[in-house]
């Protein structure tokens, strides 16, 4: 038997923009076990419920993560709206869908770029981030903020997207689609990319199910689930099917996310075509929430759960976010077993880790 040793990985690592620490037990070059230790970004955001009322908590929820910021705000607001039992205006639902899908596109493009950086394809990285800037421009145009734009409020949204901006979004996603096709070819057909991704870090469907994997990470292993099917925001009006793959390797994860990019564009087109003309953007809420609700939202990284428990006071009693990366951590540890040490950086990236979400 080869000699076992423990190699610390992270928290400051060139591949990772965020700190996570793994203790890798290795036998020669093979990883036998990976033990994560988290907490470098733990802020204790959930404790702020004592100091901020339920309206102000929207802004705290949005700052859980800068990448899926809009979706965090939406998830929290939907949960509180459920407790109130109010229906938000139809147009606000569509606007939420549009912003959520723009957010998903920028998140997936960001991930594709980081992945390309991970396997050393610098040009591809820059191309992805160049395309991503167009999406960020859309977000800035419609809301005023590039990443964190605070347009959610309990009861609806606070900003409208006028018709000319919707047209700009449509023309921009046409451009983005054309450019994405080139990027897609490189990611899926290029020999060098395939040699780094195919058959690396395989997670079977059974493993993924037992470990509770969520989002594209789970769908790449064949788990057919997408929380958008639950029909929050305007998703009941939109036709789409979850994108799944059965291989469960890094290549499948890449494939799934690229598929979701095109799906997001499709959803955007459908939403913009069906958006109703209304001037009302938010239903006014009266009083304080009383009750509890588990809201499930499909984030770019997977299923996120927002639990809000309120007791009729302005300050909610408990607000908890279970983020997708938290659910994917066990899957990551399982996947890292029996892989080469040199692949670790890449494999950690393939779950699309969002550490600030995880630790809140």
């Amino acid at each position: 038997m080869a000699k076992r040793s423990v190699i610390p990985y992270g928290p400051q690592h060139p591949v990772l923009p965020e700190p996570i620490h793994l203790d890798l037990v290795v036998e020669d070059e093979k990883v036998v076990e990976a033990i994560p230790s988290i907490g470098f970004i733990h802020r204790g955001l959930e404790s702020l419920v004592d100091k901020r009322d339920f309206n102000q908590m929207t802004y705290v929820a949005e700052r859980t993560c800068g990448i899926c910021s809009f979706q965090h705000g939406m998830g929290y607001c939907e949960a509180v709206e459920h407790i109130f039992g109010i229906e938000i205006p139809e147009r606000a639902k569509f606007l939420r869908t549009i912003w959520a899908e723009l957010g998903r596109m920028h998140s997936h493009l960001l991930w594709l770029g980081l992945l390309a950086d991970g396997f050393g394809f610098e040009n591809l990285f820059y191309q992805c981030w160049r395309i991503r800037e167009k999406i960020l421009d859309m977000q800035e145009m419609t809301s005023g903020g590039r990443l964190i734009f605070s347009v959610n409020t309990v009861g609806g949204v606070i900003k409208d997207i006028p018709a000319d901006m919707l047209r700009t979004i449509l023309s921009t996603i046409d451009d983005v689609e054309a450019e994405l096709k080139v990027v897609q070819r490189t990611f899926l057909d290029d020999y060098t990319v395939q040699s780094r991704l195919k058959g690396v870090g395989v997670l079977t469907k059974e493993q993924a199910h037992d470990l509770g994997c969520a989002g594209p990470f789970g769908r790449a292993s064949g788990i057919n689930t997408d929380m958008r099917k639950l029909g929050y925001a305007a998703y009941p009006h939109i036709d789409f099917e979850p994108i799944i793959s059965n291989d469960g390797d890094s290549y499948a994860r890449c494939e799934c996310r690229i598929g979701e990019l095109f799906q997001s564009m499709d959803i955007l087109r459908q939403a913009i075509a069906k958006i109703p003309n209304e001037t009302d953007l938010a239903t006014p809420v009266k009083g304080n929430p009383n009750g509890e609700y588990f809201m499930r939202v499909e984030q770019p990284r997977g299923e996120a759960i927002y639990y809000v428990k309120a007791n009729g006071k302005p300050y909610v009693e408990r607000f908890r976010i279970r983020t997708p990366t938290f659910a994917n951590l066990p899957g990551l540890c399982e996947m890292l077993k029996n892989t080469e040490l040199a692949d670790i950086g890449l494999l950690v990236l393939t779950i699309d880790p969002c550490i600030s979400c995880t630790e809140r």
């Binding site: 230790s37 907490g39 470990l211 509770g212 639950l230 588990f294 759960i305 639990y307 408990r318 938290f326």
Partner: protein, 126 residues
């Protein structure tokens, strides 16, 4: 118009002693552990164990309401992936859980304060 699946969510209050059997049942039925959440409300812990079915989107939550000094068994024997949730509850709320497969001993987040979201007593004692 796409099909919307919106099953009714089930919330069932159970005794601490029934936890393991219920969890075992759900695992057998093919549910996946979706989340475990703790809350400290009215000087009692409220623990919610949620299970989700990937095909029907059914969501089942088991609720345990226990006193702060009650020790509950870990479910990591049945569902290993629960260890992060249980370590989190233990560290942030001070819930007493025995036999976690990989116990971080309150060193998951490595915070300085003891059980910041749990009983306020712990804060004063520090």
């Amino acid at each position: 118009m796409a099909e919307v699946i919106h099953p009714e969510e089930i919330l069932e209050e159970i005794e601490a002693s029934a936890l393991l059997t219920k969890v075992m049942e759900k695992k057998k039925d093919g549910y996946r552990l979706s989340q475990i959440c703790a809350a400290y409300i009215d000087e009692k812990y409220e623990l919610s164990y949620s299970f989700a079915d990937d095909e029907t989107y059914q969501y089942v939550t088991y609720r345990l309401v226990i006193d702060t000094d009650v020790e509950i068994p870990s479910i990591t024997e049945i569902i290993p992936q629960a260890l992060f949730y249980e370590n989190e509850m233990k560290e942030l709320f001070g819930v007493k859980i025995k036999m976690i497969s990989l116990d971080y001993e309150n060193r998951l987040y490595r915070i300085r304060q003891e059980a910041p979201l749990g009983p306020k007593k712990a804060e004063k004692a520090e």
